[in-house]
């Protein structure tokens, strides 16, 4: 099983929250400045995507690992419902993944209008062996460029 992000990623995630460094230092004893980069909240490999402020276009990557115990290969088709005022594109839109393998998906979001009210969508991965993987999507501020 691929452990693509670990302790460092959680630290970078926490350090990526605006103004969090004193709190991170208080509870972890680690300074955010010792991490070369911080992680935007949307970039933690969670089974959901939240973008607080979408200016123009934003690409988000997600790694999925096939852990099915019965089948060796499964072919997934990706479907999605875009949030209001946002266009969504996922690639690859279809992929075959073997047991224990990891694939990266690129999710591209584009703001189509200037809207400040949160809108919600969904991404679904539908496997030909019956697995359905659901990912909620939330975009709050949308600023079309």
């Amino acid at each position: 099983m691929a452990a693509n992000v670990g302790y460092n990623e959680y630290m970078k995630f926490l350090c990526g929250i605006n103004g969090s460094s004193p709190v991170v230092l208080n509870y972890t004893g680690e300074s955010c400045s010792s991490y070369n980069s911080s992680l935007a909240a949307s970039d933690l490999n969670l089974p959901s995507v939240t973008i607080a402020k979408l200016v123009g276009t934003r690409a988000v990557l997600r790694w999925v690992t096939n852990i099915a115990t019965t089948a060796t290969n499964e072919t997934y088709i990706v479907g999605w419902m875009a949030p209001d005022s946002v266009s969504v594109k996922v690639s690859p839109a279809k992929f075959t993944i073997g047991n224990g393998q990891t694939r990266v998906l690129s999710l591209v979001f584009r703001a189509m209008k200037n809207v400040s009210m949160a809108s919600f969508g969904r991404i679904g991965l539908f496997g030909d062996r019956g697995h359905v993987v659901n990912i909620p999507v939330a975009v709050i501020y949308k600023i079309a460029v």
Partner: protein, 113 residues
Amino acid sequence: MESGTSMSAPHVTGIAALIKQKFPHFTPAAIASALSTTASLSDRKGEHIMAQRTVLNPDISQSPATPFDMGSGFVNATAALDPGLIFDIGKYFLEPPMFILFYLEHMKKEINH
């Protein structure tokens, strides 16, 4: 069945334990992924999950729940034990007390602003 965090926490914890039993190598992130990606978006009647919007008149102030209300939906134990794909976040994780303390601190700041 009652609703709310107090009711859901022990159920979800129990299902998390079942997942860990079936997949002992799963990280906490992998367990959470299995619970989330397989959750159901409809209630027992097959209707959309609703969210209560006001404390008064809870029955007439409902509207369809968004992910900000319901997260990924209602947990489905059978599906969570066979998730197919998982989104993993490494084998290290934040100790729960630290995570909770961090969140409380962050929320205090949000409220004060």
